[in-house]
Symmetry: C2
Subunit: 443 residues, 2 copies
């Protein structure tokens, strides 16, 4: 074995000898972690030169190993000699404007901005390619877990037809706390105290954050460009401790799952436009599923390929340091002249309609005949009951019980529950959750 | 969203417009899978043009979608106009000679040859870089699981200090069958019948295959070039059903684990040469560890980084199709002009000495005083017993019992067992296994 640094030959290539100047826009938790890793790892070919933040004075740190220009003028930084802009401000605006300005000037951009990439990724990648720059966003999905590079570099040779994941660490923290016995409100408060949830947790708990990430993965893994607003998103707020108790009886637990799979049917006769079955929301997952192992703020992604079968990625999906690892890895890929494998993608339509077993939890004021009425309502939509579960020890005027139904389409179930929901005995609207099968059918 | 193929812009770049001709050397299971995927996926910029195999006539297939030159003359193919050589013959020779010839001619090479890359990877990468070609070997470790691309593209920005994995699907198949109740011989026979194990299974069961893969990962993840012969490899052959029974009492199971971590001590005072603690062999793993979830021929790798924490990759580590996915992904990376991020590496020394809890299983002819004598032998090396387990129902003249010991160095334990092993009551040499802690210390 050689004693020399074996990689030196690559950087001796004249094309790589230049040093790329890096500007960070947004010096919050992730931005500071990026700067810290750049100072610690000192990747060759990269130099941190500019940091932008509003009211930058309060952000200044004294541990940087190189001189940096601190600025509160984004335009000044965008028009500086920095060759790579790291956008960490988040949101659609002004981040989108900054990224367009940088790409139009031929600069490259690294971002963790899932919302922007979900909404405008295709257009921004085209802009980057047309001006000779690159746009990388490995940090936008699953933080430090290399799902995007893994898909682009390591699974590009497969035909991926399904992607499923735990893409939101906040929901996973709350649901795994609830699995261990907490009620929703209590778990949310703890997440907020630990900095894992915002004061307004809507983006996370309602599934909006996860569906932006699913939209990005749909394009990279399935080659299907979907509109994130079309993906049905279910909230985890209605999930109660009672649902974990019933899930356990079914040898399951509950996780927020994001899934997208290519449908065997195209979007309309002869259109050739692919259709993607996609949903985000709380789901029953079997205890034997890898998803059940995922606890705390972890993320997990399972990619199913025609040739490679299932590949699982898991790890820290959020937090300053893990997210910064993904950002710095993208920067290093740029510095080494690496080019991401561009996966061909095309516009696709979305349906949330999947034929799956479902879990339905009712809360009723007990009286004779309720089960018959509910079963009748389901039967009229052709839906068969699989199991009926009723745990003892609850008051008759607020009695929870659960029905599981054989595989049926989400839309047929919705029609049935619209009818059943009118029954006078119901105290709350029924809660329905999809049940993730160990081997869900594709197509 | 655009209706156009969003990646087309990349291939409109004139540098990418050329088509790379691909030659496959070795048309066995993996080679045929590579050809099949190339025909199915039809990645742009790649064209299969040559297939070499000894006695090629018996290998010919009729389903290729493009005209191919079949050859049984490797030199002819190596000197053809193919720009990329896919080496799937395996072994050090003549594969090494072929790869050198191709790289010297400025061609690029994709290989799944773990043995060759473990032994000569550094030298061959330097050769590739010096002649303007590339050498990629994503398929050499963990088959279809994108561990190497994930490390190079997605985790390059972290400082990785440990890598642990289930790297041999044959051992994992055998051990997970034994966990379910089979004896070793029976599990091995089933693996052989299913094509998961060779007629001579030594490479797999003795850990030689896994340590070649660990050697490759050590360089990419830890930047440490180690000699694979220096990594202590333990065999799974002595593991019996009894060990799974005792492991279960300790809330553990048994897996073949390969691990390498950077030691806080360098190889010698002032040398600055890093030291790597590395071992391969059967190990007790807690039931709560992701490794315990891995069953059948699956592979799993856990990378621990200073900033990103633990990242888990798992999936199909072997088999024609998954391995071929990794090969085709490497080919696509070449066709798209992607360049792997070269991680700086340097020569490192290996120690198998780790301070860990250990499991020791004795089989004795029972008589009074045995435990006192064993405990005495351990105590003389400063080793404390943690637990003593003896399951009922075994004959007194062939009595198995188990001792677990508090964290001690592997070398001190070896000295103690050399002494204890001389006791006249022992029917077999004691079996010692490291116990993988949920949070093993690093350093």
């Amino acid at each position: 074995m050689s004693e020399s640094k074996s990689s030196s030959s690559v950087l001796e290539n004249p094309a790589d000898a230049r040093v790329l100047k890096v500007a960070i826009l947004g010096f919050g938790t992730v931005g500071a972690s990026v700067a810290r890793i750049l100072c610690d790892v000192q990747p060759r070919g990269l130099e941190l030169t500019h940091i932008f933040n509003r009211n930058v004075a309060r952000k200044r740190v004294d541990w940087l190993s190189c001189p940096v220009m601190w600025s509160e003028d984004a335009e000044q930084v965008l028009h500086s000699d920095a060759g790579i802009i790291v956008e960490l401000a988040g949101g659609l605006d002004p981040a989108g404007k900054w990224i367009r300005t940088a790409l139009e000037a031929g600069k490259s951009v690294v971002t963790a901005n899932k919302k922007l990439i979900a909404a405008h990724g295709v257009e921004l990648e085209q802009l980057a390619a047309s001006r000779g720059g690159q746009l990388l966003y490995g940090a936008a999905v699953a933080g430090g877990i290399p799902v995007i590079p893994g898909l682009r570099q390591g699974l590009a040779g497969d035909k991926c037809n399904r992607i499923e994941g735990i893409l939101n660490g906040t929901c996973n923290f709350i649901l795994s706390k609830m699995e261990a016995g907490a009620e929703f409100a209590e778990a949310l408060q703890e997440a907020q105290r630990l900095g894992f949830a915002e004061a307004d947790p809507t983006e996370d708990v309602a599934g909006y954050d996860a569906r932006a990430k699913l939209t990005i993965l749909s394009r990279i893994a399935l080659g299907a460009e979907i509109e994130f607003e079309q993906v049905p998103a279910g909230s985890i707020v209605p999930i109660g401790a009672i649902d974990f108790a019933y899930a356990r009886e079914l040898k399951c637990t509950i996780r927020q799952i994001s899934r997208a799979q290519l449908s065997s049917e195209s979007s309309g006769a002869g259109t050739g436009i692919p259709r993607v079955q996609a949903t985000v929301g709380p789901m029953l997952v079997p205890e034997a599923s890898p998803f059940a192992w995922s606890r705390g703020t972890e993320n997990m992604v399972i990619v199913t390929g025609k040739y490679g079968g299932d590949t699982v990625f898991s790890g820290h999906g959020a937090g300053g340091h893990p997210t910064a690892v993904a950002v710095v890895s993208d920067l290093m890929a740029m510095a080494h002249g690496s080019r991401a494998v561009a996966v061909a993608s095309q516009r696709a339509t979305v349906t949330g309609d999947l034929s799956l077993r479902h879990y339905i939890r009712f809360i009723v004021k007990d009286r004779p005949g309720i089960v018959a009425e509910i079963a009748g309502g389901l039967a009229r939509q052709g839906i068969n009951i699989g199991a009926l579960l009723q745990r003892p020890g609850y008051p008759e005027d607020r009695l929870p019980f659960v029905v599981t139904v054989e595989p049926c389409s989400t839309s047929a179930l919705k029609r049935a529950l619209d009818e059943v929901g009118k029954l006078d005995c119901l105290i709350e609207a029924p809660l329905q959750l999809q049940i993730l099968e160990p081997e869900s059918p594709i197509g």
